[in-house]
Subunit: 394 residues, 2 copies
């Protein structure tokens, strides 16, 4: 784990949910530049209503996060609660409350126990630790089975800097970023105009290209904070340094995204659905999405059945994708099971069956219509998915 200069972390048990830490705080020593991407769901949780304009204003110094309660569908009271909790952090840290972001995840429609969360703020502020990122990642888990944190040091032309990224999410995972929270901290110095478009693109290529169950939540949020403590030359748009920085952010987010799919509720496999040869990248993504979200395909993965008929059917019903069924090729890793829309025979299908026993593999579909290419990451659909989601609230 690389520590990111000027960021510190804390977690605590506020008593919002039974057992273990359920709130966390991320603090920068100075107000950081920031960017955010938020859920596209029209039902927007209170913490997003409060946080979005603060991030849009361009500076953020602290992020308060809780699990166990989404503070969604909680009306005016929910927004007051979110503001009050942010204000408690601001008071304790002696900073402007507009510099405090809040994020929540958990059950929808139940008022946030704001008093419990506020009561935990002094403990959070009192235990801030430069090496506490993993503890934050643990505190914000809901149905996650492991915490998700990654870090990187970039040694570039204009100096070196570090990034650390934390995410939570296991179910309700789908574009766009369902019940998914992620926070990227970096000590890089960057130009103000760089962050927002860069984060948007990185999210599209990572969190918006994964699916566990096709649901989009009310609470999704990805924040990027850059506090310029590393002493590197300021990274400007269009420079080689900007490309390096964008690549680092995107790699970190894709790593987290794959961790989320691997941790998909009940999932036993991580499958890349790669569509190439589409008319363009948009059609490739649409086709990959259609395969990645098919329950029949996902149960076949669980059954370790190289059932390419379900894959080709999902390609065929993908909206607005140009397809010539007689030119479709399908591979499981390196094993070709379909050539020109027809089976390559029982022997290759048997070999493909062996590929499906792997915990990770790639289904590649070549449409032979152009140069469009895109990937989606998905999990298998298992008994445990049903069990987890049938039992979640009770």
């Amino acid at each position: 784990m690389h520590e990111v200069t000027g960021f510190s972390f804390a977690s605590a048990a506020a008593g919002i949910k039974a057992g273990g830490d359920d709130c966390a705080l991320i603090v920068s020593t100075t107000p950081a530049q920031c960017a955010g991407v938020f859920t596209r769901n029209k039902v927007i949780a209170a913490p997003l209503v409060v946080t979005r304009p603060r991030i849009a204003a361009g500076r953020c110094q602290a992020v308060l996060i809780n699990s166990g309660n989404a503070n969604a569908c909680t009306g005016a009271r929910g927004e007051e609660d979110a503001r009050a909790c942010a204000a408690a952090v601001a008071r304790q840290l002696e900073i402007d409350e507009q510099l405090v972001a809040v994020a929540s995840t958990g059950v929808i429609g139940v008022p946030l126990p704001a008093a419990l969360l506020q009561a935990a703020v002094p403990a959070l502020c009192g235990s801030l630790d430069d090496g506490g990122a993993a503890a934050v990642a643990s505190a914000i888990m809901t149905t996650d089975s492991f915490n998700k944190v990654v870090s990187r040091q970039v040694v570039g032309t204009g100096g070196s800097y570090r990034l650390c990224a934390i995410a939570k999410g296991a179910g309700m995972i789908h574009p766009n970023m369902a019940t998914m929270l992620a926070f990227v901290m970096t000590d890089a110095a960057v130009d103000d105009t760089l962050l927002q478009p860069l984060l948007k693109r990185a999210v599209d290529n990572s969190f918006n290209s994964i699916t566990v169950d096709g649901d989009t939540s009310t609470n999704d949020m990805v924040l990027l904070l850059a506090n310029a403590q590393a002493g590197n030359e300021v990274i400007c748009p269009g420079s080689a340094a900007a490309d390096e920085f964008a690549a680092a952010v995107e790699e970190l987010l894709l790593e987290l995204a794959k961790m989320i799919v691997r941790d998909g509720e009940g999932a036993t496999k991580l499958v890349q659905i790669k569509v190439c040869g589409a008319v363009d990248d948009v059609q490739a993504k649409q086709a990959a999405r259609s395969v990645a979200t098919s329950n029949l395909v996902k149960t076949a993965f669980f059954g370790e059945d190289a059932n390419w008929g379900r894959i080709i059917a999902a390609i065929g019903y993908a909206d607005a994708v140009v397809v010539d069924p007689e030119r479709i090729d399908i591979f499981f890793d390196d094993v070709q099971v379909v050539r020109d829309g027809l089976s390559t025979g029982a022997q290759l299908e048997e070999q493909a069956g062996a590929v499906l026993k792997r915990p990770e593999f790639c289904v590649r579909v070549d449409l032979h219509q152009g140069n469009g290419e895109s990937s989606y990451y998905t999990s298998d659909l298992t008994y445990d998915y049903v069990k987890i989601n049938a039992d979640y609230r009770t």
Copy 2:
């Protein structure tokens, strides 16, 4: 069961799949007027390629159906096989082979054992029985757990006539009509221009308003045959008799559609998702579809959890639907759990929990945006769904 004058039915075991009948024949004594609705999947199975132009030509006298093999993704050979089987029926019945439709359901990508099917044709033609509709319904089942056949007598102003409708389908059920075959036979005399638009509308309001798993198959087909043997006055478009006839067809198809959802793979519940107060009917249907296809909603139904948070989230991410989260009302049957986007409290939620224990119930969502209204029928997502679909081919 009402027998439909001039139609007879047969089923047989061709040996395409192990155990039980796997092929069936429907024959009219005279060439019947006909209409057809076919899958919108771009990967189209061979029997549809062969049958579609024949139905478009306006007359059909026999329908040969097999289960156990979809004859999809089988290339030129698949089409030859489909034509050859139809030709065998035509020869045996001494009718024009253009009057023979073929339909298949089962595994994709495996050549149709056409010789077996052709060998069964004499037995099929030799055992035609006016009362054999239920046996046909049984022979065309795949993962269905019960056969699906309904009938009705209409006594109208211009005389009486009868209708009988058969369907198969349990999984891969989704708009548009995934792995779903249905055949409607009537002895009514109807104007030639009446049938196709009438069937299209009836399918939209029935088979295209149900979902089990969100997949659309390569083989879906609904055929309507009318042989004018009842002696009623010819039913003309725009007449009261046409409305009666359309209502009868639509009711039969909706009955079959609900049977399909009730028989959804592993399903234990039939749930109507009714959205009202939408800007228009199209938006209502889009919103209902979003709820009906949510895996999180469907697992909550299985868990008998009145988890309206998942329902409101699914409403919120429905594409192109105007929603004001603070005006949404949600009911489970008569129990209101959400008013103006907020919980109505624990007591009503507990009452809603009792509704969810019912084998059939209605989730009603009122958006308060206009008069648009539409329904979708869905099932719960269960362990058995996963089991059936993980094991289906193996």
